[in-house]
Subunit: 250 residues, 6 copies
Amino acid sequence: MRILLINPNISVSVSNLIRAEAQRAASPGTQIEVVTAPLGVAYIETRFESIIGAYAAATLAAEHEAQHDALIIAAFGDPGIRGIREAVNVPVVGLTEAALMSACLLGSRFSIIAISRRITAWYRECVQANGLIDRLASIRCLDQPLRDIGAVQADHETRLRALCQQAVEEDGADVIVLAGAPLAGMARTIREHIPVPLVDGVSSAVRHAETLAALAPGRARAGSYAPPPAKAHQGLPPALQALLERGPIH
Amino acid sequence: MRILLINPNISVSVSNLIRAEAQRAASPGTQIEVVTAPLGVAYIETRFESIIGAYAAATLAAEHEAQHDALIIAAFGDPGIRGIREAVNVPVVGLTEAALMSACLLGSRFSIIAISRRITAWYRECVQANGLIDRLASIRCLDQPLRDIGAVQADHETRLRALCQQAVEEDGADVIVLAGAPLAGMARTIREHIPVPLVDGVSSAVRHAETLAALAPGRARAGSYAPPPAKAHQGLPPALQALLERGPIH
Amino acid sequence: MRILLINPNISVSVSNLIRAEAQRAASPGTQIEVVTAPLGVAYIETRFESIIGAYAAATLAAEHEAQHDALIIAAFGDPGIRGIREAVNVPVVGLTEAALMSACLLGSRFSIIAISRRITAWYRECVQANGLIDRLASIRCLDQPLRDIGAVQADHETRLRALCQQAVEEDGADVIVLAGAPLAGMARTIREHIPVPLVDGVSSAVRHAETLAALAPGRARAGSYAPPPAKAHQGLPPALQALLERGPIH
Amino acid sequence: MRILLINPNISVSVSNLIRAEAQRAASPGTQIEVVTAPLGVAYIETRFESIIGAYAAATLAAEHEAQHDALIIAAFGDPGIRGIREAVNVPVVGLTEAALMSACLLGSRFSIIAISRRITAWYRECVQANGLIDRLASIRCLDQPLRDIGAVQADHETRLRALCQQAVEEDGADVIVLAGAPLAGMARTIREHIPVPLVDGVSSAVRHAETLAALAPGRARAGSYAPPPAKAHQGLPPALQALLERGPIH
Amino acid sequence: MRILLINPNISVSVSNLIRAEAQRAASPGTQIEVVTAPLGVAYIETRFESIIGAYAAATLAAEHEAQHDALIIAAFGDPGIRGIREAVNVPVVGLTEAALMSACLLGSRFSIIAISRRITAWYRECVQANGLIDRLASIRCLDQPLRDIGAVQADHETRLRALCQQAVEEDGADVIVLAGAPLAGMARTIREHIPVPLVDGVSSAVRHAETLAALAPGRARAGSYAPPPAKAHQGLPPALQALLERGPIH
Amino acid sequence: MRILLINPNISVSVSNLIRAEAQRAASPGTQIEVVTAPLGVAYIETRFESIIGAYAAATLAAEHEAQHDALIIAAFGDPGIRGIREAVNVPVVGLTEAALMSACLLGSRFSIIAISRRITAWYRECVQANGLIDRLASIRCLDQPLRDIGAVQADHETRLRALCQQAVEEDGADVIVLAGAPLAGMARTIREHIPVPLVDGVSSAVRHAETLAALAPGRARAGSYAPPPAKAHQGLPPALQALLERGPIH
């Protein structure tokens, strides 16, 4: 099985974190690849940046879908996930969706630990868009400038562990989601210090993508996730053009 | 006052409908301009196409914000609205937001009349994202191929009027929203035949944009709609680059 | 265009604040009038007092509707708004509805700043009745006796500004609504000190009323906002009698 | 124990229905009285009429509270209930609240049977204001002119029974609420023909009022149901004046 | 009238508290009986223990229903309530349902005071299952080991009173529910010290059970609370067997 | 990896269906076992029967947890899932939870296809308890007596396929969940005939259980899913006793 993780941002250091955790999480026989967006920002922490990330992710998904059994949008917040799911022929999983689904299988209410204050508004709206706001115990966050987006784990471990602890003790979290690709893999490192299950988006996404590819529930040919009807267009990259011209599946 | 309507799609015929209704709705002294996306699709009816429309709208907003007092994202569904609102320094209004706010001032529950079945899923999610799903009485839609996106009003007037009537009689709608830029201006035409208030997105957006520009409630310098923090980037159009480098307002 | 603001309370000093802000906010050519309730209380801060305010507002609306293009119920909490909207033939806007709609066009979540602790329960129920509770970040309030209802702005400016700041920093408000007619116009005064958009009910209501009057979306002749069916009655003021006898519009 | 039912409308024939069912439902030793509003309408079916009904009910409650152990607002929709509850010193129960609470003790989801189409929008908003909209299976209604508000039961029994049956079979109702004082007592008559529990507002209200009076949970002296703070007023009936001057309880 | 309170736990000391308060609350002529579960735990504070309690309660209900006019599941959290309601032929009331319904008749928002931190998650889910989460102001709890489950009231009165006070002052509670059979009767003791109505589950349940038995709204013969269809089974206690074999009512 | 599926009902024919689909779905190296409840009913379609099923499932989970890496409660509706999750030391997955999580990764809104009308009320409450009611498009069901619970698939295939089609065309389902262990494996059979992804509870549960066991997110030692505090008990099966005496994990 071949799974592609799409980093919709330009940070190669984050792609390396993603790849490492994806490989640790993958089942035997699963082949992991990671692509990094050629255009975009270092990491997404605003709704504005997510517009760019969604466009980059959609373009990469269009270019690469044919060679993979499943795609993963490897940024928390899942930029473009629903649109990409409509357009490509393989299962698509996002880090947020995947982490929330894992969390829901482990407890009633979850907290999210985020890497900046600014990013929390977008995350909250993502949880709402997933229809799970009633299970959100809290979002807690780092509140300092990030020296190096690839080194957040090492720079802030103590504070991140304290945030987890507060979520359990003060907010009633049954499960903690460590949010954001820059924290990929950290759950493994600090798990023993946290008294509730700790969920990582990358590893959850890899396993859920394997599950969807293995169960093969079928591609939507009707309803709101069927391929977009063929439509006039102009000025778009060739891969997006191809998807816009593909039309219905019979 | 100068207001720019951004058609995030490539259809010049729809831009013409938008311009005509915007000029009819504008107050004396308001100057209306419309730009049409140089890249994208004929019209948005899927989440996938809205990714492209959001990117196109953000780029156009970045290019033009300095010359206008307010911007309007002139496609129902408001592609990119929240992100663009963060990034630009003038008020930004979307057709959906504007129509829903008008509707909420006219009754308790509203129905939306849409131009295709496929588009209704995206509209429903837009209403949810606005937190107003409990006031949605129904979404009703045309269910035939559209011969010409610029001629929907003429081609389907009888059916559109029937859908309005059903929403009132069967779904409990207090107000009807005619959704989609291709229906811009139609509310004026058919209003006398419909027994409840009829809301048009373009005219609502123009008036609400005037209101926000006139009341000048202030630009967010803190919170989740402050300008995005300056951030490393690559490969983006110059106008987007400029927004990403602008950083905080003091 | 003639717009009437109905103060459903007996405080002439508050009517003066309302009139001043309404005139500042109105478009050129709009004529502003304010009436003060001949019966009722100094200001409404309980559900009980809102019963009286709603009755007073309905009576004044019935008396004056024929001479105006739109009515405004000029007390936060909008006593009687839905019922009055059914009965009169011109658009009716309330301070709360108007402020919430403005706030929704400026950000995702809003906080309300109120003039007493007691009043906050009623405000919360108004936000719920508008279906917008999921967008309410917080209600913060003054918590001291009010020396003079017409002088709250001057007496409590420092504290009110501090409450705004807390709503942004601690509650995640994207927008602040200064609630209550006694704060009419204060947004203009303190705006530069507050880092997010600041919304005023009176000015929002005036502009939205102008918009509804200008767009002329149509009066409900069917559905739940059609005129009440003619019905037997007794003991009511002549203006209310007239509305109860009017019956359906054809 | 003395319980007063306040008919906020002017229909003596409906007051007679209310009294008869209240007496059938009351425990031994409970004394039932009914007052009919001296001003108002024949029955409430719009939000506008409920403004009048609330004012009439508040005035009657103020006049009579001292002589009774509990008050009942005897119109479905409970006009003024929350405000009256703040102001008087005895428990206050409304027909809607009482019926919904009974229904919630008998099943998961309930349907409401109403006497006119127009009235259903107001009922729906009442269920929402009670926070119970997720348990509402449906509202079904008569849809013909009512010859005589005191004779609805006799005139429409067949149709009302059919509506109950449809609510069970098509809407998933576990319980049926027969709504509106004009249907007072009808549950007893048709119960054997309906395959789910049938709830009547008047009898529920009488029993719940007895319960609250017997359990004596205490009158709010703090929070949002404490007596309204004493406040300047003018032009009001003496009984309302007295409540507005009473001020806090210590 | 004969009412049976089923303590689904094994604590005789708690059964004694339950009996005492039930007798104080009952109307003249009502005969109160209490049974204690022969199998189970001392008291339920986890979802796991509630599985056991539900099974014990169902078995006892099956054994005793024929001799009573109404049953009460006398543990807060109402283990098994909905299932038991389907299966037996008399009304069934739970302490949580009963207390919440009383609270809803006394104010808009309620707080729950609980005897341990662990128990609060289960209580929160019960409020949600009742559809009333939007009216929950807070759950506050004791946070110390309980020396003797039958002596919680005496051991912790000061702290419990302080929790009530905090719920009113900090959380906006209009009403307080003292939760858990171990607190049965305490509302009477401390009521005068608490400035809002105080609700007790046992007394509420007794009165509401009397009401349902007296109003006789009818037993469900259709819908989701009709008796379970007869079904193959094995290995169950005789009383459960009998219910499973009973089948539909005609 | 060893995974145990617990059939909380007594039907061996259903256990066989479960086992067959579980083995088809399992990854290489996963060992599947199935136990059938020694006490209970043929299948659960009411809340009452789910009380029995939850007790049976809890007892079996207690007996077998030590020998397995994950447990599956193999009845739709997940009787006892939350309580069992608290008490045992390995991950626990239910068919409903698992199917809903799969569905949420495949589309925005899902429909559930059920084997009887009676069962749908319980399923609806399960979706609500999972916080996902806003994503439920519909529940559709067979409405005929079931000749043989182990032969539902063969007996009703045509009707089940028609229900799926209606859910897509009339209810807006993006994904279909075939609900109930008696339908285990049917998704594979009919998938090609249904135009949207088709989700099966057993296969989803097996794969999600593997994922949780592989990712090892940690067992709750704090919060509401920590092991129940040790507690006095009597009359329980030895395995339940052992869990009740185990107490906290350090």
